[in-house]
């Protein structure tokens, strides 16, 4: 390793609702890299993403998560977001009564304020919003509707990617973003993500399937099992997993075929 990693996860132990799930996870992401994490059900993939953004109910019992040298573990979720950590949720919530555009502007301005930038007024924000919406092929009327209310599965995921495009985080975590997507929606979502790839940014793509990785090509692939990384490799590892399942990896709980 030459440069200091953007994200450094060291010996991470965490519980979900009191149950130990992560048991000594180590992972380093350099700026500019895309890492994929794969693993059987129950291996701790979702716990990892929730721990990284500080969701209540998940507790770090040991280890640390260094982001630009700062330990995130004790940092409030909104501060992590403002510092540049972003999770595209597996199951985005519906929030009746809160208009999407109002929410997005509040979020963008909260982050701008944190960076010492001026807040965007309604007109400037709208210009930015329209530009980003084109990238994820979202119709304009979706913006005046309540957050995710009545959205299809694909629309919700596009809305997540839209948020990522608007907030411009430096550490992007995608939790099973491909689940429930048809091939067209998958392409749109992957395009949005690829727009975000840059030398300053790191991405952690959590997925059950190789399919997404055809569109978002990772630099590194890791296998998570029983709360630890048990194998790492390049993108060919994902293809191997697709073919053989997890059973052949030493230390991996065998749940046979992942697909």
């Amino acid at each position: 390793m030459s440069a200091t990693p953007l994200v450094s996860i060291r010996n991470l132990h965490a519980t979900a609702g009191g149950t130990p799930i992560l048991r000594g996870l180590d992972l380093e992401l350099q700026a500019g890299e895309v890492h994929a994490i794969m693993g059987p059900n129950g291996s701790g993939k979702s716990t990892l993403s929730n721990v990284l953004v500080g969701k209540p109910g998940y507790e770090v019992t040991d280890g640390e998560v260094l982001f630009r040298g700062q330990n995130l573990v004790e940092v409030e979720p909104e501060v992590r977001a403002r510092e540049g950590v972003f999770l595209a949720f597996q199951y985005p919530v519906e929030i009746p009564g809160v208009a999407n555009n109002y929410f997005l502007r509040s979020a963008v301005n909260a982050i701008r304020e944190h960076r010492g930038e001026e807040e965007l007024d309604a007109i400037d924000f709208l210009t930015l919003l329209k530009e980003k919406m084109k990238l994820v092929e979202m119709p304009e009327d979706m913006m005046s509707r309540a957050i995710n209310e009545g959205f299809s599965g694909g629309e919700k995921k596009r809305n997540e990617i839209l948020q990522m495009l608007l907030l411009e985080p430096t550490f992007c975590i995608l939790d099973e973003t491909d689940s429930g997507l048809d091939i067209d929606a998958l392409r749109v979502v992957a395009n949005g993500v690829n727009q975000m790839r840059s030398p300053e940014r790191a991405m952690l793509v959590i997925t059950h399937y190789q399919r997404l990785l055809d569109h978002i090509v990772p630099d590194h692939v890791h296998v998570l099992s029983e709360g630890r990384i048990v194998k790492s490799g390049d993108k060919s590892l994902a293809l191997e997993l697709e073919e053989k399942g997890y059973g052949w990896i030493e230390g991996a709980e065998g749940e046979g075929d992942p697909s």
Binding site: V53, G54, K55, G97
Partner: protein
């Protein structure tokens, strides 16, 4: 007996003087005198309601019993409430102050009159409706009101008329001299003749530390096919006891929409009684209450389906913070013969403090078959996943809570049909929420 006797006498004397001075129409004067006498007698018999009454289980008026009222005629040159805009009529301590010019643009057939004006312009109409719907014979507070109100705002809509703009009536309580509490009894009478349509905003609030009692009685008569929307915003301060009683009666195919917003931080009781007397009559009853400090906000509603094919759709939402307490009682009565009735009622509540409380009880009384009736109440906190989602996007916890609470309230505010009232009331609710939710957050830190 309840209120100190000399206190009542003092108020009653003021009423007598007022009536003798103002009323030019002898028949109306006689009608008012009768309301006064019968009201006093009924009040003597019933007194101030106590918690021994089923209807008053959730709220105590003990504080009212011990008040020694002194009439205050304080002149308010610049009355302010939390809402902007000019009112058509303004009650100050129960007496009307009329800016005059504001009413000039009303179309032919739409009238808003003070008692004095009604006496010269519409005495018979006033006598034939005033006091016919309020339940003074069976309710101590309505009786007290009949006995003691000094002035009246009459809204009269001739057949087929539309107001063209929202009507606005306001009631202000002022600071009493010294520590003496004041009592005021603003009275509203709305007569909508066949096919007439109107939206009316009624705001009541107080200026300074105005201790005392505000009792408001509104009677609304809707003839065939009339549509009336009344939005009532109450933002009286904690020093004041506020009781509002609204009675509406609907003829065939009439529609009555009520929106009650209780934003004050004192003791308030809002009663709404809607009688659907003929088929095709329908009502929407909406309420939003926001409790803070030690506020006690009680909402008691009754909808009476007396005829077949009548519809009621009721939803009251509560947000309770600090040490506040909410009470909701919703009676739905479906009389024999009222087939094909459709009645819906719900009362969702948000408790934002573990010291706050809500006491909610729907009450269905169905005396016939072939009806649709549903009711439900819920009590909960803000959705934890939604709250986390907003925070995970960089929005701070206080603002995220505010967004979600505002969303909860907006379902009620958005139901107001008249657009300028909806916007004004929306802003008032937002402003109060911002104050209350931010403060709650501060207290927990």
């Amino acid at each position: 007996m309840s209120l100190a006797h000399e206190s009542i006498d003092r108020l009653a004397a003021a009423v007598g003087t007022r009536r003798r001075e103002c009323i030019a129409a002898p028949a109306l004067a006689e009608h008012l005198d009768r309301l006064h006498r019968e009201g006093l007698a009924a009040f003597e018999a019933q007194g101030i309601p106590t918690r021994r009454l089923e209807r008053w289980k959730g709220t105590s008026l003990a504080a009212l019993e011990s008040m020694d009222f002194v009439r205050v005629g304080g002149d308010v040159s610049d009355p302010e409430t939390i809402l902007a805009g000019d009112a058509d009529l303004t009650f100050v301590e129960g007496r009307l102050h009329s800016p005059g010019a504001v009413r000039a643009d009303l179309p032919e057939g739409v009238r808003i009159l003070s008692l004095q004006e009604a006496a010269s312009e519409a005495p018979e109409l006033t006598s034939s409706f005033l006091g016919k719907l309020s339940e003074a014979k069976t309710d101590g507070l309505a009786a007290l009101h009949d006995a003691l109100f000094e002035d009246l705002a009459l809204v009269h809509l001739s057949p087929g008329t539309r107001t063209g703009r929202p009507l606005r009536i306001r009631s202000i309580s002022t600071a009493a001299s010294g520590d003496q509490p004041s009592a005021s009894f603003p009275r509203l009478l709305v007569v909508a003749e066949a096919g007439a349509e109107a939206s009316l905003l009624f705001e009541s609030g107080s200026v300074g530390e105005a201790t005392g009692y505000t009792g408001l009685v509104t009677e609304v008569f809707l003839d065939r096919g009339a549509r009336v929307e009344i939005v009532e915003v109450q933002s009286e301060r904690q020093e004041r006891i506020h009781v509002t009683q609204t009675f509406a009666k609907l003829a065939r195919d009439a529609r009555f929409d009520s929106h009650v917003l209780s934003l004050g931080d004192g003791l308030s009781r809002s009663e709404l009684t809607v009688r659907l007397e003929e088929s095709g009559a329908s009502t929407r009853m909406r309420g939003f209450f926001l409790g803070r400090g030690r506020a006690h906000l009680d909402h008691f509603t009754t909808v009476d389906h007396e005829a077949p094919h009548t519809t009621s759709d009721e939803e009251y939402r509560g947000v309770l913070t600090d040490d506040s307490r909410g009470v909701f009682r919703g009676r739905v009565i479906i009389r024999p013969g009222a087939q094909k009735t459709d009645a819906r009622q719900s009362n969702p509540n948000l408790l934002l403090s573990d010291r706050a409380a809500i006491d909610t009880k729907p009450q269905l009384e169905i005396y016939t078959d072939d009806v649709k009736a549903s009711h439900g109440s819920t009590i909960g906190q803000l959705d934890a996943d939604a709250l986390f989602f907003l925070r995970a996007r960089g929005i701070g916890e206080p603002e995220a809570k505010l967004l979600l609470t505002r969303a909860f309230a907006s379902e009620i505010v958005e139901g107001i049909e008249e657009p300028t009232i909806r916007e004004e009331v929306g802003l008032a609710v937002q402003k109060t929420l911002a104050l209350v939710v931010a403060k709650e957050e501060g207290a927990q830190r």
